[in-house]
Amino acid sequence: MRNPKLLIGGLLFLGLLIFALAGPTIAKSRTKLKDPLQISAYTPYQAVSDEIPIGSDQLGRDAMAVFLYGMRLSLGVGFVAGIVGTLLGVLVGFVAGFVGGNTDTILRVLTDMFLVVPTLPLLMVLSISVDKWDLLTIGLLLGLFSWPFVARTVRAQVFSLSQRPFVDLARLNNENSLEIIVQELIPGLLPYIFLSVSGAAVGAMLAEAGLQILGIGSGNLATLGYLMAKAMGAGALGGGFAGQVLLPAGYLTLTFLCLNLINMGLDEQFNPRLQTTAHGE
């Protein structure tokens, strides 16, 4: 792990993660209220003061507390969606790349379709019919839409890996397909699977905040996107509540930056094509 991008990205992300997990504790420690998220503790959009450094939200809650609790939720949505999307994508990509033939063609058309069609309208339609708006449901829903990119990369990788001589050798040795997959292909795919989890997570967190801005979402799941969207809708930018937008936006952007750094680092570490050029040969 000498890769500086991987190191910096990883450490910074770890910091953000700890901050998110400690959020509720921090929130509790800095207020006299029993429940830091108590509704109508203040008047809605009450001016910034020492007690409420970025003001209160539309429900009269301390917006800072909402932010501190929200980090965890946003990361959670990304995590669930990342896992779901990756599982789906790996499955589709794997089957397409390994089986090949007509299966591959059909799956590829399907993947391309999901890539090309705008997903936000589809998500909007789906999410207004969600009656229980919680972390798992939303993560699952977003995960359903983040698999095509994963599928594409995995397919390409499986395809190129399965063309390598060692897989032919395994086939000649009469090992069955599943054994080949497990023994020969999975190790080569691991870095790409790591890559796709964080890629899908970023996509899902982006989409979640996007949905919130489009007015879909619920106070049940007060993510950073929710805080941001509500504040923006209430004219927070011009009205002296910019912190309610900038703080969550900053946190999200920083998270994306870290995940991207990690991805770039992983790519440099494991992509053989990049490796040779890095040595200047």
């Binding site: 058309v109 391309d112 379709m113 890539l115 090309v116 069609v117 705008p118 997903t119 936000l120 309208p121 589809l122 909007m124 339609v125 789906l126 207004i128 019919s129 969600v130 009656d131 982006l206 989409a207 905040a209 996007g210 801005i213 489009l214 007015g215 879909i216 941001m228 923006m232 004219g235 930018l237 011009g238 910019a242 937008v245 900038l246 936006a249 900053g250 999200l252 952007t253 994306f256 930056l257 991207n260």
Partner: protein
């Protein structure tokens, strides 16, 4: 005579033969287009009939539950039920739906909220804003990004280029709404250089007169600027790495050995080849770009399809939502079809081959 004509005819036929790959490519692309369109329509149908809570039925139930409160709501519900064909068997509903889509065309019935205005007409009212801002931004971003990326790739060893790439990467990973917020806050609220929060001056009435157009253009700077900034960063990064890899190709080394001027090499050898994947990429990102455009509309309060979508979702206007869903898919698919059909103009390998 016949003997003289024969080779002539043969060469004509063989010339036609040479374009068979083109015909196959175009046929293939069009086939996939029709299939994807059909699949999207069917998906929309299925979504609105089967998803948890069945919105089509739900809206009727909503009306029915109001039966006691609103005079005539009962009747209205029955009218809708009949009108939407909810009493009929499913396959008939599906066929009718397809018929309305194809021959309507895109007949989604009436908007619930703006009853009795047809959904088509409502969409038509909001469409120009989206089409204008979105198309302008996509094209501008592509042109700018491709040009800047090509230059950065060309001067790949300069210090300036590597710093520019770092900056571009930063912009690229910033979510579009975050950038919008920063620009809005900085240029509009803090500095007051640009107007915001509405599509044109509040005192004006829409018309084709210059003052109004001017007002629209000035108000469009921020939203369009945001979209161009974010999207072009992606094109810059893509084009730069394409250029770098093309610059390593054998034909570039050969071009230099021929003693061609750097300008010719840049234009005719490096740029022309790096351009191909950039064009192909345009077909893929349209959908994702439209997602961003909808969000931008909300942030900048532009009365486009994104705003209409958000309103329809808030008021559970399912007919309008369905119309928007289908229309978004149709717009993006058609856009990428046009790009795909233009590909042979750029790449002779698709255009023709020696059979």
């Amino acid at each position: 005579m016949k003997n003289e004509e024969k080779p002539e005819e043969k060469s004509f036929r063989s010339r036609l033969q040479r374009y068979r790959p083109l015909a196959r490519y175009l046929g293939n692309r069009f086939g996939v287009y029709l299939f994807t369109l059909w699949a999207s329509l069917s998906l929309a149908f299925i979504l609105f009939r089967f998803m948890p809570g069945n919105p089509m039925a739900m809206s009727v139930t909503q009306l029915q539950s109001n039966a006691g409160l609103i005079v005539g709501a009962d009747k209205a519900a029955e009218y809708y039920r009949e009108k939407m064909g909810l009493n009929e068997p499913l396959h008939i509903q599906y066929l009718k739906f397809l018929k309305n889509m194809i021959f309507g065309p895109f007949d989604f019935g009436h908007s619930f909220v703006k009853y009795p205005t047809p959904v088509n007409e409502v969409i038509g009212r909001y469409l120009p804003w989206t089409l204008g801002l979105f198309t302008t931004s996509v094209i501008l971003a592509w042109i700018l990004g491709t040009a800047i990326g090509a230059l950065l790739g060309w001067m790949r060893r300069s210090r300036f280029a590597s710093w520019a790439i770092v900056l571009t990467t930063l912009i690229n990973i910033t979510p579009i709404y975050v950038l919008a917020v920063f620009l809005l806050l900085g240029l509009s609220y803090k500095l007051g250089w640009l107007p915001s929060g509405r599509p044109y001056d509040a005192q004006m009435m829409p018309s084709w007169k210059w003052p109004f157009i001017k007002s629209v253009l000035i108000h469009a700077i921020l939203p369009v600027g945001t979209m161009v900034l974010v999207w072009s960063s992606g094109w810059i990064l893509g084009m730069r790495s394409l250029m770098v890899s093309v610059l390593g190709e054998d034909y570039l080394a050969y071009a230099r050995a021929k003693g061609l001027s750097p300008l010719t090499i840049l234009k005719e050898y490096a740029f022309r080849n790096a351009l191909l994947p950039q064009v192909a990429g345009l077909a893929i990102v349209l959908g994702m770009s439209l997602n961003g455009a909808y969000i931008i509309e909300i942030i900048f309060r532009i009365p486009g399809l994104g705003t209409l979508f958000a309103n329809a979702a808030a008021l559970r206007d399912f007919n309008t939502m369905m119309g928007l869903l289908v229309f978004s898919a149709f717009t993006v698919l058609t856009g990428s079809l046009i790009v795909d059909l233009a590909m042979p103009l750029f790449d002779p390998r698709i255009r023709r081959s020696d059979a």
